[in-house]
Symmetry: C2
Subunit: 200 residues, 2 copies
DNA sequence: TGTGTATGTTGACGAGGTCAACATCCTGAG
DNA sequence: CTCAGGATGTTGACCTCGTCAACATACACA
């Protein structure tokens, strides 16, 4: 984060806004992101963001898209260096997914919360989430070809798998799950049950 | 909904507030619920709700709790009249769960969205969701005793099942799933995969 | 070297949550 | 039966927030 040095122009305010908003979300949730507050933190006026985003929602969408990008990267990157069987790798993917949500709860919530992002459609967001799904479909297709899981429509299976991990992540984040349970074990059981269910 | 007849006091404003807020949520989402708006619809001033709820969040929590009550009732009531095998009944429960969410998307979102309800803990909400979980645990326990699903810790299995249906409901509501897919089929496949995975 | 455009700033407005002071009603003790 | 005090509502005011319009500044390019 470069110093601002009292220059009238910021340099790359747009990127700074997205980064700072993400930080604020981590610290105090999406509601803590205020045009005035974010401006203050960046040494800029409250209306400055409007030169880069049509409204606050657009800024939040950008943050959410960035979140999907990171999650996607994490899931992809993980495939390469992972040892063990192929099924093991799929399970590992599920675990990484949930872990991302637990590490970035407010961000994850923003990514999926249609409410905070207004009812409107945001094609970029749709696309960012879509990229995630496509990757999952690809991986599932590979596993089908190896005969490790049943050969149903890969997209449907991807939806089922996505539902399971997203649901678990969501319940954990919203504290709907007894804090005394062993989270790691629960994650493992979820992915295991899922994979077993998909195996013919 | 009894007439108000210009009496100074409303009669049962608290109940009316919860009911009206729920209606407004269905119509325009949680953000459309405004102290001023809800007051207006009930022929009451903007500050009147504060005689019954400490703040807006408390009112929304009450609405969410009511939602859990209805969902719970739906899942319970459904068990009795359902024909077919025992596993069939469990699957039916999952389907009813998702269907409830699809029929009451904004309400369902409110029930699970920690963001809209502020970060604070709301024990009533926790309890309302807990009742749901307990019911699910009971049903799972019965199925275990009949040997229809593996005898793992019933609570863990309940969490896994809950995750799956909640995740699917959530993704559907947030329009993350291709609108061209056959929703009913997807619901069926999800519950089926889940049950298969839990069967030893 | 200007000048138009991109980028920032300030003032103002309207919406919304909430509190304080005041009004009205209802209920139970005497 | 009456009337005082609590319960329930109302109005005015304040603060925060998103956003727009009018104005200021800086940068890039002809």
């Amino acid at each position: 984060m470069a110093e601002r040095e009292q220059t009238y122009h910021h340099g790359d305010l747009r990127a700074a806004l997205v980064e700072e908003a993400a930080a604020m979300i981590s610290e105090g949730g999406a509601t803590s992101v205020t045009m005035r507050a974010i401006g203050g933190r960046l040494g800029v006026s409250r209306a400055a963001p409007y030169r880069h985003f049509p409204d606050k929602t657009a800024l939040l969408v950008a943050v959410a898209v960035e979140g999907f990008r990171r999650l996607n990267q994490r899931l992809r990157g993980d495939g390469t260096g992972t040892p063990g069987s192929s099924v093991e790798r799929l399970r590992h993917m599920g675990e990484q997914y949930v872990r991302f949500a637990l590490e970035n709860p407010a961000h994850y919530r923003l990514m999926y919360g249609r409410e905070a992002l207004a009812r409107q459609d945001h094609p970029e967001l749709r696309q960012a989430a879509g990229a995630l799904l496509e990757h999952l479909v690809d991986v599932i297709r590979v596993h089908q070809q190896r005969g490790e899981i049943e050969r149903k429509a890969p997209r449907s299976q991807a939806y089922v798998a996505w539902s399971a991990v997203h649901g678990l992540a969501s319940l954990l984040i919203e504290r709907q799950i007894d804090p005394n349970v062993d989270v790691d074990a629960l994650i493992r059981q979820t992915t295991q049950t899922l994979l077993h269910g998909m195996r013919g």
